[in-house]
Assembly symmetry: C2
Homo-oligomer: 387 residues x 2
C-alpha cells in the first residue's frame, strides 16, 4: 500500500543524520521500467526552492527514472551553493543507478535557508545508503514514506487498483498547506503503461480538485512537488478516464490525510459552497472562509459564529446577493436569506469533523475546501519551528 | 483631545445595558454648525451591516448633523427587522435634535447576527439618554469614546491643530483589522469650514495610507465606518493640502493605536517593502507577509524565520527577481540577494515593536503595512467571543 505497490518500483528510506531526532530523512524511489514516463506539478509560489528549480527542468522531457528526497532542510534560499547541492544529489543517484542526472527528480522539505556543507554531505551519503537498500517490498515502501516526514505525526499512504494495474502513493505535509500546492511532497507510482502527456493531463486534473483544495493555513510552500511515475510493468494501457478517476480518488484520500494531520488542529473543517454561478466562485468563497482566522478560532472554541463566515464571503467577488445567503453548520441552518434562522444552540461542534455549507443562491456550481481550525497548538508549533 | 475638541460639537456616551458588563455602549455626536458638511468611507466588504447600508444613503448629499453609535451588537445579518432598528435609531436622534433622519449617520459594532427587540429598545432608549447628556467638554468627549469600545482595552483619541482650526478624532477596533477598513468605527470632527467634496477627498486620501494599511488579522469587518464632520465654527477655511496632511497625520496616530491594542497581540509588526516598481507592488508584498500565519506565529515565538517572509512574498505578482530579495529584521539583514547573510542569532525580537524590511530591488517605491503577531491570546479571545 505504498510506492512499491505497483510493479517495477523499488524504494528505500534511511536515517542520514539530517534530522536531529535520528529518524529517517533520505528517501529514494526508483522506476525500473520498462517505461520511464512521468509527470509532476510544482508549487505556484514564485520563490521556488532549489530542488523545484532543478526538477522543473528534469521533468521537461516527460521522463524520470528516480526521485531523491530529503526531509530536515528545504534547500530554499541557499544560493548557488544550494542549487549545486541539488545537482550533486541528482548526480550521485544517477551515478549509482546508471542514469543521467536529468532522469532524477529531487525534492527537499524542512526549514528555508538551511543547507550548508554539512547538510550537503549528509544528503549525499544518505542517497548512497538508500540506493544500497532499495527493495520492492512493503517494508521498503514504508521506510521511504517515513523518510519524507517532517512535523507529520503519521505516514500518509494510499493505493488504488485498476483493471490490471495499480497506483500507489505517499505524501508528507502537516502545515503550510495552501493551494498550489501545500507544503507537501507526494510521490505516486503506477505500473500502468501511459505516455507522459497522458500522465500529465491526469495528474493536473487530479491535483486541481484535491491537493489544490486543501488550505490548512493559507500559507503556500516553496517546495511543493507532486510526482507521478509510470513503469508500464503491468503491460496494461488503461482507459485514460478510468485512470484519471482512480488517480483523483487516490489524491483525494491523501489530501484528506494531510488535512487530518495538520499541525495543532482540533477540527477538520470541510467548507462547501453550493448554489454558485461557477466552480471558481464556489471555490473562492470556500477558500475565503478557510482563510479567516476569526472563523477558524471560533471553530476551535466550538462557537458556531456564522457572522464570520459571511464576513469572509463578502470579501470575494463571487456572484451573489448578500441578503440571499444561507449558512449551515453541522446540519443546522443558522442563517437563511441573510437572517438568523435555526438556533446556534442546536449546533454541535464537538466532533473533529466539521461541515460548513454556504448557499449563494446564484447558480448550480459547487466547490469544497478542506481546512482546519486555528488553535493554541498551531501557534505553539509554528512559533517554535526554527528554534 | 477628542471629538469635542473642535468648536461646534457636542457629544455623550451612556450605558444603555446592551453590554452585559454595564459599560457605556451608546454614543451620540452632534455637529451644531454653522456648517453640516461631512464625508464618510465604509467597509469594502460586500456583506454590509444595516447601519452601513443606511449611512451610505445618509451621507450621499454630503451633509450630516449627528452620528448615533452603539457597541454590543453589530446589527448585521439581522434582516428587515435589523434595518428597521437602524432607521428607528436615526429617527429617534433626529426627532430629539430637530433634524431629518437622513441627517443622522448610524454605526454599530459587536457580534454579527445579534439585534433582537430587546437590543432595539436598549439602543433607542440609549439614544434618548445620550441626547439629554450632550455636552461640549472633554469629559463628554471621553464618555463618547468609551461608548464605542468593544474588546478594546484603551480609548483611542487624537487631535491636531491647524492654522486657526482643530481636528479631533476617536476610534475603536481591536481585531478584525484589515483593509477596507478594519473592524473599526472612527469619528473625526473639525471646526474648519470646508465643502463636503473637499472633506471627502481629504478623508479618502488620508484613509488610503493609514487605516487601509492596518492589517491585524486579514479579516475584514462588515461594519467599518470612518466619518468626518466639519462644523465651520472656527470661521477658518484652511488650505486643503494642509488640512489633508493634518488629517492624515491624525489618522496615522489612530491607526497606530489600533495596531497597539490588537486582540491578544504581543508584537506590533511594521512591514515595509522598499525597492518596489510601484506602491501597489510594495503594499501587496507587505500585505502578503502580514497575512502569513506562519510568519506571525514565528514572530510570537521571537523566531526570525525569514524564509516565511520570502514564501509569502512569492505568492504575490509584484515585480521582482526571487533571487534578488533582501530581508532585514530589526536592523539585521538576515537574507541578502536570496541567500543567508547576517546570523539570525543577531536578531533581537524581544521588543514589542518589530520591523521587517523587504527590498525587492525592482524600483524606487515603498509601502508599509502595520500588523501583529499570532498568539495564544489571539486564538483564545477570538474563540470565546460569542460564548
Amino acid at each position: 500500500m505504498t510506492v512499491t505497490a505497483a510493479k517495477g518500483f523499488r524504494a528505500a528510506g534511511v536515517a542520514a543524520g539530517i534530522k536531529s531526532t535520528g529518524k529517517r530523512d533520505v528517501t529514494v524511489v526508483v522506476n525500473d521500467g520498462p517505461s520511464a514516463a512521468a509527470a509532476a506539478v510544482f508549487t505556484s509560489n514564485r520563490c521556488q526552492a532549489n530542488p523545484v528549480i532543478w526538477s522543473i527542468k528534469a521533468i521537461a522531457d516527460g521522463s524520470i527514472s528516480a526521485i531523491a528526497l530529503n526531509s530536515g532542510g528545504a534547500n530554499c534560499y541557499t544560493g548557488d551553493f544550494g542549487y549545486e547541492t541539488t545537482a550533486l544529489t541528482a548526480e550521485r543517484a544517477a551515478e549509482l543507478l546508471n542514469l543521467q542526472p536529468s532522469d532524477v527528480l529531487v525534492c527537499s522539505t524542512g526549514l528555508i535557508g538551511a543547507g550548508d556543507e554539512v547538510f550537503r554531505q549528509k544528503v549525499l551519503s544518505g542517497v548512497t545508503e538508500a540506493v544500497a537498500e532499495l527493495a520492492d517490498d512493503v517494508a521498503a515502501g514504508r521506510n521511504a514514506s517515513e523518510g519524507i516526514l517532517t512535523t507529520d505525526s503519521v505516514e500518509k499512504l494510499a493505493t488504488r487498483t485498476g483493471s490490471g494495474y495499480t497506483i500507489g502513493g505517499m505524501a508528507k505535509g502537516a502545515g503550510m498547506l495552501a493551494p498550489g500546492l501545500a507544503t507537501m511532497l507526494v510521490v505516486i507510482t503506477t505500473d500502468a503503461d501511459l505516455e507522459s502527456t497522458q500522465l500529465d493531463a491526469a495528474l493536473r486534473a487530479a491535483t486541481a480538485v484535491t491537493f489544490d483544495r486543501v488550505d490548512s493555513d493559507g500559507c503556500m510552500s516553496t517546495n511543493d512537488t507532486v510526482a507521478l511515475m509510470a513503469s508500464g510493468a503491468s503491460g496494461v494501457t488503461p482507459d485514460v478516464a478510468e485512470f484519471t478517476e482512480l488517480l483523483t480518488d487516490l489524491c483525494a484520500e491523501l489530501s484528506k490525510k494531510l488535512q487530518q494531520d495538520a499541525e495543532g488542529a482540533s477540527h477538520d473543517i470541510t467548507i462547501t459552497t453550493v448554489g454558485a454561478a461557477s466552480v471558481d466562485d464556489a471555490v473562492a468563497v470556500s477558500r475565503a472562509v478557510s482563510r479567516s482566522n476569526l472563523f477558524k478560532a471560533a471553530i476551535f472554541g466550538n462557537d458556531p459564529n456564522w457572522g464570520r463566515v459571511l464576513a469572509a464571503a463578502g470579501t470575494t467577488d463571487a456572484e451573489f446577493d448578500p441578503q440571499a445567503l444561507d449558512v449551515t453548520m453541522n446540519g443546522v441552518m443558522v442563517c437563511k436569506a441573510g437572517t438568523p434562522f435555526e438556533s446556534i444552540d442546536l449546533v454541535d461542534l464537538s466532533p473533529r469533523e466539521t461541515e460548513v455549507i454556504i448557499d449563494l443562491h446564484a447558480g448550480e456550481a459547487s466547490g469544497t475546501i478542506l481546512t482546519n481550525d486555528l488553535t493554541h497548538d498551531y501557534v505553539h508549533e509554528n512559533s517554535a519551528y526554527a528554534s
